[in-house]
């Protein structure tokens, strides 16, 4: 009978990374899951207790949660959708040869390089209803007669913050798609030209299929980031006015900020499950590819 020989070197090498992950990811996640089943409200420390699915029942009867849920879908749908659309267009432009292309490529990255907090403050002043430059430009162009309090009205505040995150995220899509475009073989386009393919045919039959993996992973990453983002909305509207810009991540932040940690953890868990659903198609595709 041969004794089983265990090679511990790989475990030893992986251990530091694993311990760090354990400390900064797994333990906090486990703690958050535990909190979501507790009445963990630090304002009332004497009534901390296990309440089972009490928080989740309360959430499902909470109209603010459902408002924030729908708003999160719109925030991600419009925010990421428009970023992708304009990012794709920008990438196609930047993939063309023209003089000063390097400078344009560098400048177009500025929104992505700017911290979210700064973007929030900057756009808050751009949208300002009294002294904002946007109102000034629109009045000079005779598009509006009166100044619009963009961030103070429920019907304009949410589109305004969506426009801001679109502005911020376009360069990321452009950058990723541009990298993908540069890997597409020119020979395919030349062959398509010989066959008399139109520009749209080349776009949808060659370009898009060639970079579909890049598009897929970029969309997935942005969906997760945008759904979780707090900095921009907090700095522009804090979720108001009248909760009109309150997404789930803002609602979580507001609840955690007033120390209702159990309730915030329960909503966080729901948001995590929502985002996991978005990742499922990607994971299934990867597993299929690995099997092949």
């Amino acid at each position: 009978m041969r004794s089983r020989k265990i090679n511990i070197t790989p475990y030893f090498l992986v251990a530091p990374a694993f311990l760090i992950m354990l400390g900064v990811v797994f333990v906090p996640v486990a703690k958050a899951i535990l909190m979501s089943f507790q009445n963990y409200d630090l304002r009332r420390p004497n009534s901390l207790k296990f309440i089972g699915i009490g928080n989740f029942i309360e959430i499902f009867h909470d109209p603010l949660f459902w408002d924030a849920f729908v708003r999160t879908l719109l925030w991600v749908g419009f925010g990421v959708g428009l970023q992708f659309l304009f990012g794709f267009i920008l990438a196609l432009i930047l993939n063309q040869k023209f003089s000063g292309r390097g400078i344009v490529r560098a400048v177009s990255l500025i929104p992505w390089c700017t911290p979210g907090v700064l973007i929030g403050l900057m756009w808050r002043w751009i949208y300002d209803g009294n002294y904002g430059v946007l109102n000034d430009i629109l009045i000079r162009l005779h598009i509006i007669d009166e100044k619009v309090p963009f961030l103070a009205q429920t019907n304009t505040a949410f589109p305004s913050v969506i426009a801001t995150i679109v502005w911020q995220g376009i360069p990321f899509f452009a950058l990723m798609i541009l990298a993908g475009l540069q890997g597409v073989s020119q020979e395919m386009y030349e062959a398509a030209d010989v066959d008399g393919a139109s520009r749209f045919q080349k776009l949808f039959k060659i370009t898009v299929p060639s970079i579909k993996n890049t598009i897929f992973i970029t969309l997935l990453l942005r969906i997760i980031w945008v759904a979780n983002s707090v900095d921009l909305i907090m700095n522009m509207t804090e979720g108001g006015p009248a909760y009109s810009t309150q997404t789930l991540s803002i609602y979580i932040f507001n609840k955690a900020n007033v120390l209702n940690m159990g309730y915030a953890a329960a909503i966080s868990l729901i948001l995590t499950l929502m985002l996991s659903l978005a990742a499922v198609p990607y994971l299934r595709k990867r597993f299929k590819e690995e099997k092949v």
Binding site: L42, G129, N130, Y131, A152, T154, P241, Q246
Partner: protein, 444 residues
């Protein structure tokens, strides 16, 4: 197996080296203690001197102090006050003053998070509303013993000590008075003259003034001066309270007919266009900027902004207390100091907070900020008696108050009030519905 042993050996070596570090530190700290005790048996004068020097040295304390400042001038002044205290106190106390943003009240939450995590300062600038949360978690030091022994105890009105006690929800004092800010109405005398009105004496006259001061001054058919600068964002509950009380309502029950009528007045100012259309999102910076730029003719704030107002307008800015209707109320903004339970030298910390309450720190800070001093001796100084903004503040003291301090107050102030008010202003809900929500959320 050999590899496993090698790994274990490396780990054991790492742990033993860590233990070695700990051991040497222990020895180092023990040595001076022994030296300090040795001369105690000797009664010679030289030895006494050496002992007292060593005691002073051993008493040297560094304490961390968190504060917020409304502008860079106040920030510099605080650093000067602390520097002077550090240089003049005879107890070897060094205060390390660290400025933190007020951030519409997020300061208290940040302070709580830091304290619960085992960090945060030894002493901090304070708002009474935060007290129940901190005392419920045993984070604050009880001050009664120190106040009893304090020579200047009676320089502060006994009523203020009582308010401090009420805030903690017990008969113990956890909060040291420092200064107050009583809200009043800023106005532009030149604008009042232009529309031919006097300073309002009643609540009704105030509402009428808001209407009359709203004007198109350049004849282009658009309003360019609004009667009142409404604060609809966080912090706006303070001026809003004056409207609720103006109709005879109170914070005990927001759903009474009087309170709802006060809310309707508040909403009408927005709906009728007597306040800027940005009002639902306007916070402190916006109402001050609008007043200073001449976009609004009146706004409500305290003496903390008076220096900036005078710098902008010179003589063309004045103040009056919020006028009386069926009731009268204005918000007493309070600022105190607290000592944390974790502070290792509470006596030294108390020496600093008492310097701020009745010493030079009190005088210099109140002179700079224009806040109402809590020290009777400082209140009596001509510099405070002759100031028109201070006068409006002092007139308001008799009916000034604070929001009920409950464990729900922080959430109510930071998210419930601003969002419910903007729902009402935008017409999504009625005044009565808004007041029912505010009642339910504050007293849940």
């Amino acid at each position: 197996m050999k590899k496993l042993l090698a790994v274990l050996a490396v780990l054991a070596l790492s742990i033993s080296s860590l233990t070695g570090c700990g051991g040497s530190t222990k020895e180092e700290s023990a040595t001076p203690k022994e030296t300090a005790n040795a001369p105690a048996e000797n009664n010679s004068a030289d030895t006494k001197d050496a002992k007292s020097e060593e005691e002073t040295a051993s008493k040297e304390t560094t304490l961390t102090y968190w504060y917020w400042a409304d502008n860079s001038d106040y920030s510099n002044k605080m650093q000067e006050i602390v520097k002077e205290f550090n240089e003049t106190n005879k107890s070897g106390i060094t205060i390390k003053a660290e400025e933190q943003p007020w951030d519409g009240g997020a300061y208290s939450q940040n302070l709580f998070t830091a304290a619960m995590g085992g960090g945060g300062p030894d002493i901090a600038t304070w708002k009474l509303t935060a007290t129940p949360l901190f005392t419920a978690n045993n984070l604050l030091a009880e001050l009664d013993g120190y106040i009893e022994k304090w020579a200047d105890k009676d320089d502060i009105d006994a009523n203020l000590y009582n308010i401090m006690k009420q805030a903690g929800g017990s008969d113990k004092t956890y909060v040291m008075p420092w200064n107050t800010q009583v809200l009043y109405v800023y106005y532009r005398p030149s604008m009042f003259k232009e529309v031919g009105i006097e300073v309002p004496k009643t609540y009704e006259e105030f509402l009428t003034a808001c209407e009359k001061l709203t004007r198109d001054t350049d004849g282009d058919g658009k309003i360019d001066v609004y009667g009142f600068g409404m604060r609809g964002a966080k912090g706006g509950q303070e001026p809003w309270g004056s409207f609720i009380h103006g109709r005879g309502g109170s914070f005990e029950d927001f759903t009474t007919d009087q309170a709802v009528k006060g809310m309707e007045d508040f909403m009408n100012l927005y709906k009728k266009g007597y306040v800027p259309p940005t009002a639902p999102a306007d916070g402190f910076n916006e109402i001050i900027a609008n007043f200073k730029s001449g976009r609004t003719a009146m706004t409500i704030h305290h003496t903390g902004s008076s220096a900036g107002m005078v710098e902008t307008f010179g003589e063309d800015v004045a103040a009056f207390p919020f006028p009386k209707g069926d009731g009268q109320w204005t918000s007493m903004g309070d600022t105190e100091n607290v000592i944390f339970e974790k502070c290792k030298d509470k006596e030294a910390a108390f020496e600093f907070v008492s310097y701020m309450a009745a010493g030079k720190g009190q005088q210099v800070w109140c002179e700079t900020t224009g806040n109402v001093p809590v020290s009777k001796r400082v209140q009596a100084m001509p510099v405070f008696q002759d100031n028109k903004f201070m006068k409006a503040s002092i007139e308001g003291v008799s009916y000034a108050g604070i929001l009920p301090i409950l464990d729900t107050t922080t959430e109510w102030v930071s998210t419930i009030w601003p969002n419910t008010i903007s729902q009402a202003l935008s017409g999504e809900i009625t005044a009565k519905e808004a007041m029912e929500t505010l009642q339910k959320e504050l007293y849940k």
